[in-house]
C-alpha cells in the first residue's frame, strides 16, 4: 500500500532545504526573551507584539505570553511592546549579550484615549483574535453574554436556527468546529438546548479563532478552531466580578495564593428559573429547569523557567419533573429527568528552554454526557412495585500532548509536538426494568479508539516581503476493525505589499475522527457522537483560501478580504426517514451504521471584514457571499442539494460607542438571506399510517419535492444596548439594559403546513412560519470589586 505520495516527499524536501539555507546564512545576533504580562494581575498576555524601536521586525508572544527576539548586538536598544487594550511599553536594554526582559503592560483604562503605536509586528496569519471585553458590549439574548453567538457575527460564520448557539463555519457542520478550553476539547457547549453557549465570558481571557490557515498543532476537526484560554487569576490582589441578570447570575473570584507565585480563579454561573417557579408549584408536582457552569484554575510559578496550571470546567443542564399522586390506599410517584453536561480537566506544565525554547506539556480529560431517566414507584396496601427506564449517551477523551516552540533564528520559528488521545464512546446505554412483571433489559454499547498525532511546522521569513509557514501533521486512528493513517499538510505563504497590506494564500488538509449524528441539525444536546469505523471513515477536508489584509494608518482599523474553496469528503447524514433518538421517542436498538449515509460536500465564498478595535467607536462590519452544496448517494436521489444552513448573503454590523466614561451604547444589526429547508410546496391525499390496517383511511399528504428547495424569507434583526458605568470606592459597577430584536421583526424559527378544513370552497393548505423571539428586553446589574 502506498502511504506517501511523491508530492509529500517533495514538500518535505523543500522544507529541509529552506531550513538549512537560512540557518547557514544567519548573522551574529543576541537573543532577548521573556514573558509579557499584565502589570495589575500578573496574567500573561498572548499575541503581543515585541519589537525594537524604529523597526517593525520583531516577534509575537505565544499563547502563554512568551517571546524570543533575535536582534543585532550593540550597546543598547529600545524594546517596544504593544498589545490591543494596553498602553505602549518601552524600555532601553543592553544588547551586549543574551538577556531576559520581562514586560509589564498597563491596561488602557478608558477607550476614549487612542494609543498610537508605530512599531509593531503585523501578523501574517489568518488568526482572528477577539477581545473578551469587546464581546461583553454586544447586546445579547436575555442579557446572557455569549462568546459563540458573538462569533456568529463574523463573516464566514453562520448561525443555525434563530436563537441557537450552534455555528457553522464556511459550510461545515456544527460538529466540525474544534472548541478548546485550556487545551481540552469541549464536545457540546450548549445550555438550554442550545439557546446559550456554556462559556462564562468572565472566566475567559483569550479567544483565538481560525477558519483556515490552520496551524499544524491543531487537528481533529474540519472547519474551524476556537481556542479559549481561561484567565489565570490575579497574582497581585483579590478581585471579584459578577452580574445579576434575568435568567442567571454569575460570580468570579480571583486572587493570589502566594503573591507573584501562585493564584487562583473560580467563576460560576447559575440560572434560577427553577427557584423562581418553586413557590408557585403544588406540593405534589415539581417541574424545574436549571443550568450552571463552573470554571476553576490554579497556577503556580515554580521558578522563572517553570509554571504549572490546573484548570477545570463543569457545565450541566437539568430538566426534571416529579409528580406524586396519593390516594387512600395507594401512592404513585413519577420522576422524569433530562440532563446533559460537559466536564474538562487540564494539567499543564510550561517550561522555558534557554532563551529560545518553550515547551508546554498537557494532560487533559474531557467528557460529554446526555441522559434521560424515567421512574415510577407504586405503593398499595399490599404491593410495592417500580418501573424504570434510563438512557444515556456519552463521549470522552484522555489525552497527553506536548508542544514545543523554538525561536531558531530571525527567520525561523519552529513548532513541533505530539499528542495521544484515547477516545471513548458510549453512543447508547439504557436499562429498563419492571418489578411487577420481573422484566429487565439492559443494553450498553461501548467503543474505544486511539488517536496519535505528530506535527512540525516552521514559520519562515525569507525577507521583508515574503513569509511562509510549512506544516505537516500525521494523524493516525487505531480502531478495533481498521486503522487510518492520514497525513495533513498545511501551507501558507504571506506577501507584504506596500501600504501595510498582507496577502496570504493557504492550503490545509484536515481530518476528523468523530461523527455527529443529528436529528435536527441544530447542534442540540440530543445529538449523538459516534466513532469512526470501517463503515464510517474519517471526515476529510481540503481548503484553499486567499486573504488580503489592509492595516490602516489609524490604529486598530483593519480590512480583511478572503476567498475560499473547501471540499469535504466522508461527511455523514441520516438516511431519509431514519433517526436515532429524538425527544419524545423511546430509545431503540438501531444499528446506527445502517441508518446513515456517507457523502461529500463543497463550499466556496468570499468574505469581507472591516474591524475597528480602538477609540470611542469599536466594532466591525462583516459580509459573506457563499455557497455550500452536499451530495449523498442515499439522499435526494443522489442529486446535489443545498444543506439547511446554506445562506447566500450574510451581513452584520456590530458597534459599541463610548459616549462618556459613564455611558456606553452598543448595537448590532444582522441580515441573512433565507436558508434552504424542505417545506411543502404542494399537498394532496394518500394512505395514512394505518395503511396495513385500514385501507380506507386517507389523510392529507404534503410534498416538499427536491430536498431543501424552499427558500425561507430573509432574516434581519437589530439589537440595542446601553450601559451605565459608575466608579465606586470598592471598584465599579454598571447597569445594562438591552433589547434583542428591537424592531420586532418576525424571524421564523421553523415552517409548517397548516390546513384549514373549514375553508369555504374546499380545503386550503398554507405554509406558516413560527417565530420564537419577538422583542426580548433584559436588564442586568454587573459589578467588579477591586482595581482593574
Amino acid at each position: 500500500m502506498r502511504i506517501f505520495s511523491q508530492s509529500y516527499f517533495s514538500f518535505l524536501g523543500a522544507v529541509v532545504l529552506l531550513f538549512f539555507y537560512s540557518a547557514t546564512t544567519a548573522q551574529t545576533v543576541i537573543t532577548l526573551s521573556g514573558y509579557v504580562y499584565e502589570n495589575s494581575s500578573g496574567e500573561r498576555v498572548p499575541f503581543a507584539s515585541v519589537t525594537v524601536a524604529g523597526s517593525t521586525k520583531g516577534a509575537l508572544t505565544n499563547a502563554y505570553g512568551f517571546y524570543s527576539l533575535r536582534v543585532p548586538g550593540g550597546d543598547s536598544i529600545r524594546v517596544v511592546c504593544s498589545a490591543l487594550g494596553y498602553e505602549r511599553f518601552e524600555k532601553v536594554v543592553s544588547a551586549l549579550a543574551d538577556d531576559t526582559v520581562s514586560i509589564a503592560l498597563v491596561p488602557v483604562v478608558t477607550r476614549l484615549k487612542e494609543v498610537v503605536i508605530s512599531e509593531k509586528v503585523t501578523p501574517s496569519s489568518n488568526l482572528i483574535k477577539l477581545q473578551v471585553n469587546a464581546l461583553k458590549n454586544i447586546p445579547s439574548l436575555l442579557g446572557e453574554r455569549d462568546i459563540i453567538k458573538s462569533l456568529q457575527l463574523l463573516p464566514g460564520v453562520s448561525r443555525g436556527t434563530e436563537g441557537f448557539a450552534a455555528f457553522y463555519v464556511r459550510g461545515g457542520g456544527a460538529d466540525q468546529n474544534l472548541i478548546l478550553l485550556d487545551e481540552a476539547p469541549v464536545y457540546n457547549a450548549n445550555h438550554v438546548f442550545g439557546l446559550f453557549s456554556a462559556f462564562n465570558a468572565d472566566a475567559i481571557r483569550n479567544i483565538s479563532f481560525w477558519k483556515d490557515d490552520f496551524p499544524a498543532r491543531y487537528g481533529g476537526r474540519l472547519s474551524s478552531v476556537l481556542d479559549l484560554q481561561m484567565k489565570e487569576g490575579s497574582r497581585q490582589q483579590f478581585r471579584a466580578e459578577g452580574g445579576i441578570g434575568l435568567t442567571s447570575s454569575r460570580l468570579t473570584l480571583e486572587g493570589p495564593i502566594a503573591k507573584d507565585k501562585a493564584s487562583f480563579i473560580v467563576s460560576g454561573r447559575r440560572s434560577y428559573l427553577d427557584l423562581i417557579m418553586k413557590p408557585f408549584m403544588p406540593d405534589n408536582e415539581k417541574l424545574g429547569y436549571y443550568f450552571y457552569d463552573l470554571n476553576a484554575k490554579l497556577n503556580w510559578k515554580v521558578d522563572d523557567k517553570n509554571q504549572l496550571y490546573i484548570s477545570a470546567y463543569l457545565a450541566n443542564d437539568l430538566l426534571s419533573e416529579r409528580n406524586v399522586v396519593t390516594r387512600k390506599s395507594s401512592r404513585r410517584e413519577m420522576v422524569d429527568k433530562l440532563g446533559w453536561g460537559s466536564t474538562t480537566a487540564t494539567l499543564r506544565w510550561n517550561r522555558q528552554l534557554g532563551s529560545r525554547g518553550f515547551v508546554n506539556t498537557t494532560f487533559y480529560h474531557t467528557r460529554y454526557r446526555f441522559s434521560m431517566l424515567s421512574r415510577e414507584h407504586r405503593v398499595t396496601d399490599s404491593t410495592q412495585t417500580s418501573e424504570n427506564l434510563d438512557f444515556s449517551s456519552s463521549v470522552w477523551d484522555y489525552s497527553l500532548k506536548t508542544d514545543m516552540d523554538y525561536f531558531l533564528s530571525r527567520r525561523h520559528t519552529l513548532r513541533a509536538g505530539g499528542q495521544w488521545i484515547g477516545h471513548g464512546f458510549r453512543p447508547r446505554r439504557y436499562s429498563a426494568g419492571n418489578t411487577a412483571t420481573g422484566f429487565s433489559n439492559r443494553v450498553s454499547e461501548f467503543e474505544r479508539n486511539q488517536e496519535i498525532a505528530l506535527y512540525a511546522e516552521d514559520r519562515f521569513t525569507l525577507n521583508e516581503r515574503w513569509e511562509a509557514s510549512f506544516g505537516l501533521r500525521f494523524s493516525t486512528l487505531l480502531t478495533a476493525g481498521k486503522d487510518f493513517f492520514r497525513p495533513e499538510p498545511r501551507l501558507s505563504v504571506a506577501h507584504r505589499l506596500p501600504g501595510e497590506i498582507v496577502l496570504t494564500t493557504a492550503w490545509s488538509r484536515t481530518n476528523q475522527f468523530v461523527h455527529l449524528l443529528s436529528n435536527t441539525g441544530l447542534g442540540l444536546s440530543t445529538d449523538l457522537y459516534v466513532p469512526v469505523t470501517a463503515y464510517t471513515p474519517p471526515q476529510q477536508a481540503d481548503q484553499v483560501s486567499g486573504t488580503l489584509k489592509k492595516y490602516f494608518a489609524k490604529p486598530g482599523i483593519e480590512l480583511t478580504m478572503s476567498t475560499y474553496r473547501k471540499w469535504m469528503r466522508h461527511i455523514t447524514a441520516y438516511k431519509d426517514g431514519a433517526s436515532f433518538l429524538s425527544i419524545g421517542d423511546e430509545p431503540r436498538d438501531i444499528p446506527w451504521q445502517e441508518n446513515i449515509t456517507i457523502g461529500k460536500g463543497k463550499s466556496y465564498g468570499t468574505e469581507l471584514l472591516l474591524r475597528k478595535d480602538a477609540g470611542r467607536l469599536t466594532g466591525w462590519i462583516g459580509y459573506t457571499l457563499s455557497w455550500t452544496v452536499h451530495q449523498f448517494p442515499d439522499l435526494n436521489n443522489g442529486k446535489p442539494f443545498f444543506p439547511k444552513y446554506d445562506r447566500r448573503h450574510n451581513l452584520s454590523l456590530t458597534g459599541s460607542y463610548q459616549l462618556s466614561d459613564q455611558v456606553k451604547l452598543s448595537a448590532n444589526w444582522v441580515y441573512y438571506t433565507g436558508n434552504y429547508v424542505s417545506a411543502p410546496y404542494a399537498f394532496s391525499y394518500g394512505l395514512d399510517r394505518y395503511a396495513i390496517h385500514d385501507y380506507r383511511y386517507l389523510d392529507s399528504r404534503a410534498y416538499a419535492g427536491y430536498r431543501n428547495s424552499f427558500k425561507t424569507p430573509g432574516y434581519h434583526r437589530l439589537d440595542l444596548g446601553i450601559q451605565f458605568h459608575k466608579k465606586k470606592k470598592w471598584g465599579s459597577r454598571y447597569w445594562e439594559i438591552s433589547f434583542y430584536n428591537a424592531y420586532l421583526r418576525e424571524n421564523h424559527t421553523y415552517f409548517y403546513i397548516r390546513y384549514d378544513p373549514n375553508a369555504v370552497g374546499g380545503r386550503k393548505a398554507e405554509i406558516k412560519g413560527r417565530s420564537m423571539f419577538s422583542i426580548v428586553p433584559s436588564i442586568s446589574y454587573n459589578f467588579r470589586i477591586g482595581a482593574i
Binding site: 429498563a432 431519509d576 431503540r588 394518500g686 394512505l687 396495513i692 413560527r770
Partner: protein, 292 residues
C-alpha cells in the same frame, strides 16, 4: 488597495461560474399523489390516485381525485389493469399475483390523459416465520413471551399486522426485545426497525382487567415490511406528531425541524410498497388471572 479590489472581483467572478445546485421540482399541475400497499394475501389490488394542489388554494377533495388515469401493476410477465370505482374512489382489480414468491418485483404505472406518468417499484418481502407464544400470570399481569426467528439472509422491517388480547386484559405497551425495541405508533401498530437475523424475543405483560370477562385468548399476526413502507408509516407518524405540536404551539417542534414524509414514487409522490405476513396465531390462555 486597487490590487485588493481586483483580487475580490476576480474571486467573485470565479465563484459565479458555479451556481451550486439546480433545483428540479415537478410543477404542481403535473404532480400526482399515488398510494398503494399490496400483500400476496390480498384478494384485490387497490390504488389511490390524486392530483396535487398548490398551497393557499381552496380545492375540494373530489376535484383532486384523478378518475381517468391508466393504472397498471406488472410483475414483468403479467400486467393487471385497474379500473376506477366511484364508490371507493380508487382503482381496483382482482389480485392476479397470489402466487408471487418473496423477492418478486412489482411495478406500478399511472398515466394520465394529459401525459403525466408516475411509477413505483416494490419487491415482495419474505413471509416471516411463525411466532411462538408462552405465558404465565404474576400479580395482576399476564406475562408473556413471544419468540420468532429471522433468517440471517433477510433483515426485514417488521410490524404486528395485528396483536389482540382478549377483552379481559388492558392493552400493554411493548418495550423489551432481545434484538430490538418497538416503536408504538398507536396502540395497535407496533413497528420495529430493521431486524437482525436470529431469534427475536419479546417479554412483556398486559394488565388484567377484573371488571371485564371475555374469552381467554390472544392472537398475533406478524408482517415483514419493505423498507420504504416502514419509512412511510414511521415518517407519516412523526410528521403528524410534529404537525400537531406545531399547530398547537407545543414545545417539541421548537427543537425539531419538520419531518419529510418518505416517498418512493417517481414523477410524483406517495408510496407503492408491499408486505408479507404470517397466518394469525391464535393462542388460548390456559389459566385465569390469580384472584385477589
Amino acid at each position: 488597495m486597487r490590487d485588493a479590489w481586483l483580487v475580490l472581483i476576480l474571486a467573485l467572478g470565479l465563484m459565479s461560474c458555479d451556481p451550486g445546485v439546480e433545483v428540479q421540482n415537478v410543477l404542481v399541475d403535473k404532480l400526482l399523489s399515488v398510494s398503494a400497499v399490496v400483500s400476496p394475501r390480498d384478494s384485490s389490488l387497490k390504488v389511490y390516485v390524486f392530483r396535487a394542489s398548490g398551497l393557499s388554494k381552496r380545492i375540494p377533495y373530489d376535484m383532486l381525485i384523478e378518475k381517468n388515469a391508466r393504472v397498471t401493476i406488472s410483475d414483468g410477465t403479467r400486467e393487471a389493469l385497474l379500473s376506477y370505482y366511484a364508490d371507493t374512489e380508487r382503482y381496483e382489480c382482482v389480485n392476479p399475483f397470489h402466487d408471487l414468491e418473496a423477492g418478486s418485483s412489482l411495478t406500478l404505472t399511472v398515466q394520465t390523459q394529459d401525459g403525466v406518468t408516475a411509477t413505483g417499484h416494490s419487491v415482495i418481502p419474505p413471509k416471516p416465520q411463525l411466532v411462538s407464544f408462552t405465558h404465565h400470570h404474576r400479580n395482576d399481569f399476564l406475562v408473556y413471551e413471544l419468540v420468532w426467528n429471522n433468517p440471517e439472509a433477510h433483515k426485514y422491517f417488521q410490524a404486528w399486522q395485528s396483536m389482540e388480547f382478549a377483552t379481559n386484559y388492558y392493552p400493554g405497551e411493548i418495550r423489551y426485545l432481545k434484538n430490538s425495541n418497538a416503536i408504538m405508533v398507536e396502540p395497535e401498530v407496533f413497528l420495529w426497525d430493521r431486524q437482525p437475523g436470529g431469534i427475536n424475543i419479546i417479554r412483556d405483560s398486559v394488565q388484567t382487567n377484573p371488571g371485564r370477562v371475555g374469552p381467554a385468548k390472544a392472537s398475533f399476526t406478524l408482517a415483514n415490511f419493505e423498507e420504504s413502507l416502514w419509512k412511510y408509516i414511521r415518517t407519516s407518524s412523526q410528521y403528524d406528531t410534529w404537525l400537531t405540536n406545531a399547530e398547537e404551539s407545543g414545545i417539541l417542534p421548537v427543537f425539531k425541524e419538520p419531518v419529510d414524509v418518505s416517498n418512493n414514487i417517481k414523477g410524483g409522490f406517495g408510496i407503492f410498497a408491499s408486505y408479507n405476513c404470517t397466518d394469525s396465531l391464535i393462542v388460548k390462555i390456559d389459566a385465569e388471572p390469580v384472584a385477589k
